[in-house]
């Protein structure tokens, strides 16, 4: 085990898989010599050469369209979108093509690939370097969506993702790229897609979170404990298809739930989770499920910390839910 931050853990996973599988190629803006604007691909250009770590022209649609072709041909492309805010020029290739390729060809053309992209706020990025667009992909059938919160999960989920046979959006919570540190197993190490993790067992309120907000949820749970409320905190890890059993199991136990995410509230993932809980654990609910999320505004610059669903906003939600 080595102590790593999330950037290092992802870098480690990429290096490992590129060594193991020569079909893996990285492509994107600035992923080559400079190693990505967050330095996630640092060193890989030197190690694997410019045919496997490829700087591209400035076009996300071109990157994903090319990656689809590569995948069809049998490579395992891992395109990077520099910020998830800039994924929209590629949205048509992703939702109209990538997501539907296997289906529309009756399985002749599966299109496995992992689209890596930094997500979320916390770096004072304003409107366009802070967004969390996961719901815009979850709603689209055919895509899987992953978002690790810890370095070890980042490595393990990325390796699983590259080996998976479906297209995957791999969202990297950039607020904790360097802040999240931890032990990361060396060598080959996978975390299965589709499994959430109970990171803090508890009895009274279920708190569902993922990515950078997991730490806020944990912090809030600790603070709630100070008020005598015992929270169970779930790290979703895979956002879609989500680990319904873990979520429902917990809610059946606690009867109370708070769902946290940075993305805007309306039609966000929290609304799906609340609805699934209604459908599968209605009679267990002892309080209305609560959402603590980004607001339905563009992501702001100066007031970023007021926008984000940080611990100070999660605590009252937990308390209110517990006391309902």
């Amino acid at each position: 085990m080595a102590q790593m931050n999330m950037v290092q853990a992802i870098n480690d996973a990429l290096r490992l898989e590129m060594k193991r599988d020569d079909r893996v190629v990285l492509l994107g803006e600035d992923v080559g010599k400079v190693g990505g604007v967050f330095r996630v691909t640092a060193g890989l250009y030197d190690e694997f050469g410019e045919d496997r770590v490829i700087d591209t022209p400035l076009s996300e649609g071109g990157i994903i369209g090319a990656a689809i072709g590569m995948s069809i041909y049998g490579l395992r492309p891992v395109p990077e979108i520099q910020f998830s805010d800039f994924i929209f020029p590629a949205y048509d290739q992703i939702v109209s093509e990538l997501a539907k390729y296997r289906y529309r060809s009756g399985g002749e053309y599966p299109c496995p690939m992992v689209i890596r992209t930094p997500v979320g706020g916390g770096i004072r990025g304003g409107h366009y370097h802070s967004q969390s667009p996961e719901a815009q992909f979850i709603h689209v059938a055919g895509l899987k969506v992953v978002c690790p919160a810890t370095p070890a999960d980042a490595k393990g989920l990325l390796l699983s993702s590259i080996r998976d046979n479906d297209p995957i959006l791999f969202f990297e919570p950039k607020r904790v790229y360097r802040a999240a540190k931890g032990e990361v197993p060396e060598g080959d190490y996978t975390v299965p897609i589709g499994q959430a993790k109970i990171v803090r067992p508890g009895e009274q309120v279920t708190v569902v979170a993922y990515g950078a907000m997991l730490y806020e949820a944990l912090d809030a749970a600790n603070k709630a404990a100070g008020q005598g409320i015992d929270c169970e905190v779930i790290d979703l890890r895979t956002l879609w298809p989500l680990d319904i059993d873990t979520v429902i199991g917990s809610v059946k136990k606690t009867g109370r739930v708070v769902v946290v995410h940075e993305a805007p509230r309306s039609c966000g993932l929290a609304s799906e989770i609340v609805t699934l809980i209604n459908e599968k654990a209605f009679l267990h609910l002892e309080a209305p499920p609560k959402r603590v999320t980004g607001f339905d505004t563009p992501f702001p610059y100066t007031l970023e910390n007021e926008y984000l669903p940080l611990s100070h906003r999660i605590v009252p939600a937990i308390v209110e839910t517990a006391r309902y």
Partner: protein, 384 residues
């Protein structure tokens, strides 16, 4: 509002920019004149090859006509064909090597059949039946056939261009000496994808042949509204990609231009953009009524430039192709059509559960639940 600035455009608008005389321009590759005589360097095909090509073009047209008929009879829901554009579709397909990939737009079923896609498979798609490889999930004329390296047809305009570039790029990274040809219309040159595909192809010198079927129209929008560039071929200049024009109703010209582009790509010299000057004789699809936006008078001169007629005249001259020869092939194709349509039509609809297959490699819990929900629930009323 001022309108004066548009005055000339408004006048020009009633006809397409694709005029028959365009092919007479100096830079247009031409081999076979409309009356079937050679006027340029022929691509050196044997008589057998020419007959093969002619037969494929004829088969394409007969299949096309039958599909339109089936649609009119309400037996299939839709068809989009290649009437008048057969020389472009078949000439390019002919010039391709078996190891090459072909990424269709939506009018290239003729090329796919030529490369070996079974006619039955095509009609299973048109009928959207249980034997359709895609389980009737897509509209008619949206097929795929990986065995013969034929891509998957989708509706969004242009997306296949960027993907075909990615395939050629991957092949190059792998050291595989193959070429990916990709088809698109004049309208598609306005899409994001044209820009991305050509730009990346130029930068990475991918082995692509980009075939623009300039058929004069994008549904009701004439080519002059698509772009202010004089030709589509010259768009290559923006990407360091050579552009070539050929008479798209002249199958020999198409073969020559395509062969040169394939050879260039295979030699590692990079992509070529081919603009094939042809004309969409029919409506855009069976859903379209072209009389609303183009006068029959515009279409008339194009009838005389019909690519099949032209090649038949050539064959008459060259090998004494007779009416009996013609009739024999037609009969063969009709026979074949009867057989496959019969089977396709009798085949049942895809099973309910197939609705949920192939969304992912494995069925996740939520789709398993939805599959069950559908299976246990009441059946939908038939038809519309």
């Amino acid at each position: 509002m001022t309108t004066d600035v548009h005055a000339t455009a408004a006048t020009a608008r009633s006809t397409s920019q694709r005029k028959p005389e365009d092919v007479l321009a100096d830079d247009v590759v031409r081999v076979l004149s409309p009356d079937g005589t050679l006027i340029g360097e022929d691509p050196g095909l044997t008589d057998e090859e020419v007959v093969l090509l002619y037969r494929a073009m004829l088969r394409t047209r007969l299949v096309d006509e039958r599909a339109v008929l089936l649609q009119r009879q309400g037996r299939i829901g839709f068809h989009i064909g290649s009437l008048g554009e057969e020389a472009t579709v078949l000439g390019t397909a002919f010039a391709l090597r078996e190891s090459d990939w072909m990424f269709p737009c939506y009018r290239e079923f003729g090329g796919a059949l030529f490369r070996g896609m079974p006619l039955q498979r095509y009609f299973d798609n048109l009928f959207g039946n249980a034997n359709d490889v895609a389980k009737g999930r897509q509209m008619p004329d949206h097929w795929s056939y990986r065995d013969k390296r034929l891509g998957s047809v989708s509706s969004p305009i242009g997306t296949q261009m960027t993907q075909a570039m990615g395939v050629a790029w991957a092949a190059k990274l792998r050291g595989d000496p193959l070429v990916a040809i990709v088809y698109f219309g004049d309208g598609a040159t306005s899409s994001n994808e044209f820009h991305n595909a050509l730009n990346f192809a130029g930068v990475y010198r991918t082995a692509n042949v980009f075939v623009c079927r300039n058929n004069g129209w994008a549904i009701s929008v004439p080519t002059e509204r698509q772009t202010a560039s004089d030709t589509f071929a010259q768009k290559g200049v923006a990407y360091g990609v050579p552009g070539v024009r050929c008479d798209g109703n002249d199958v020999f010209a198409v073969v020559r231009a395509t062969r040169a582009a394939v050879a260039r790509a295979a030699a590692g010299e990079g992509p070529t953009l081919i603009e094939a000057l042809t004309y969409r004789l029919s409506g855009h699809s069976t859903s379209d009524d072209p009389s609303r936006y183009r006068p029959e008078a515009e279409v008339d001169p194009w009838q005389a430039l019909d690519p099949l007629r032209r090649l038949r005249l050539f064959l008459q001259d060259r090998i004494g192709w007779s009416d009996a020869d013609q009739a024999r092939i037609e009969a063969e194709v009709q026979e074949e059509l009867k057989r496959v349509i019969d089977v396709a039509e009798k085949t049942s609809a895809p099973p309910l559960t197939s609705l949920f297959d192939d969304v992912y490699a494995d069925l996740p819990w939520h789709l398993r639940e939805q599959q069950e929900e559908l299976a246990l629930g009441p059946r939908a009323p038939k038809g519309h």
